[in-house]
Assembly symmetry: none
Homo-oligomer: 249 residues x 2
DNA sequence: CGAAATACTGCAATATCCTGCAAACTTAAA
DNA sequence: TTTAAGTTTGCAGGATATTGCAGTATTTCG
């Protein structure tokens, strides 16, 4: 087994269980605990997890427990969410996946918006219960503890039976050539299904996510219709996306 | 179990109950009271809680402070949940529906319990993410805002494809003749499906729910195998249920 | 005050971590 | 194919961290 495969396995374990033990990983992967420790050290140095005595913990806490100012680049995300609100109208069927930018959007939807929202994110569903006229459909499946979103076949199948007006993607990475990409394979599958299930795809992304790539490709850049960032639409960094045919907000 | 997990569990307990006892934590976490004291000292030094003789209190800044008091008859519900914990073992597949008593149970599951839990309740799923070894499957469907549970055909169909070891019912009303009954028609349908999907049905009910009836019948009293209340099992009020063949805890 | 519970101190056992090193493996050029 | 340099891995050892226990001090409460 290659070192990179091993480290990917470790990252997946962390994402699924929000913590790992060096001793367990050593058994599961048939390598010495020293090797595991070296892997954890590397992954810790690159910020993918946090090493602790006996194993490692996931870095990102539950969005649900986040207080506003603990969210990274919170001001930018609020701005992105605000710019996106005019896209939503009464009567629409909307798909929203997880992420803190989408959570922000769920907070500031107009209180009278009458829409049906499908989501696989617990924090977003919880937030939406504050909106009296929004119909919430939760997409069930295996719950990923760290991100508090459901994943897996059941989620994908539910999405395949759906044709929504608009899909709002919390975006980890967006790039002209690589398109939308994700760090977790299963989340990437779910996002792909979400994109396919809507007539219009909106990507909410703070500018630092532009022109970055993750290991798992979700979909082509042309599958995205609208890109919302905190930047001015005339900003140079957005021009390539405009030329590729995306609406820029 | 990692030290940090243990400390997270403690913080969670403090948030939920606004106070903790060293002696209780020592039992729940299977470590000595010395270790608990050392944890409390660390958490106290970092300002996450306030150490007092015998345990710790939440800091006054804590926003979760009110939660417990909002729950009606909270002390009784804690007692019911505690009495139910021995029913659960490693490897089981468990169905839990909503309700504050079930939420209390989700809080106090042994932190090392290795089980798969199906639930349609958002607060319970959120609570369960604190347990590192529990596999959570969220049952998707239309979200009922007040109760924060999913309901409807999709939930019922998911349950019909399932055969679990044990189903834990938060119980609104239980009566010898009428059986289990509910105030909301759709919730009643979901609970009926949940009961049918498990080999053993456990009803958690505080005593004031005994011998009451609601408009919509969920199922016959004989479909319930175990009844857990805050009363002593010898209490007169429980004898009719014992005679009807239920196990009383 | 006195009993019981809780807390602190120092110590020992165990588990985990780190460092340096050598063997095994990979890569790429000769 | 061979060689050489670089990378990865496991292991030995000594260092550090974590935990439980025993003995003693302190707090609580009737």
């Amino acid at each position: 087994m290659l070192k990179e495969e091993r480290q990917n396995f470790i990252l997946n374990e962390v994402r699924a269980h929000s913590r790992v033990l060096s001793s367990e990983l050593s058994l599961q992967l048939n390598v010495s605990e020293d090797t595991i420790r070296r892997d954890l050290k590397e992954l810790s140095d690159t910020g993918h997890l946090r090493k602790v005595h006996g194993g490692a913990m996931s870095t990102s806490l539950n969005p649900y427990h986040f207080k506003d100012r603990e969210i990274y680049a919170h001001e930018d995300k609020v701005l992105v969410a605000k710019k996106a609100t005019p896209l939503f109208e009464d009567g629409q069927v909307i798909i929203m996946d997880g992420g803190t930018t989408n959570l922000e959007l769920a907070r500031i939807f107009h209180p009278n918006l009458k829409a049906t929202i499908f989501t696989n994110s617990i924090p977003i569903a919880t937030q939406l219960t504050e909106h009296p006229h929004i119909n919430i459909i939760f997409i069930g499946g295996k719950l990923l503890k760290q991100a508090q979103v459901t994943i897996g076949m059941e989620v994908i199948q539910s999405l395949q039976r759906l044709k929504a007006d608009i899909c709002v993607l919390g975006t980890r990475s967006i790039d002209l050539k690589a398109g939308i990409s994700e760090i977790d394979w299963e989340e990437a599958q779910v996002k792909r299904a979400a994109m396919a299930a809507a007539n219009q795809v909106v990507s909410l992304a703070i500018s630092e996510k532009l022109n970055t790539v993750q290991p798992y490709i979700v979909g082509d850049i042309n599958a995205v219709h609208t890109l919302v960032t905190e930047l001015n639409p005339d900003d140079n960094r957005l021009q390539p996306y405009h030329k590729a045919g995306l609406d820029i907000l």
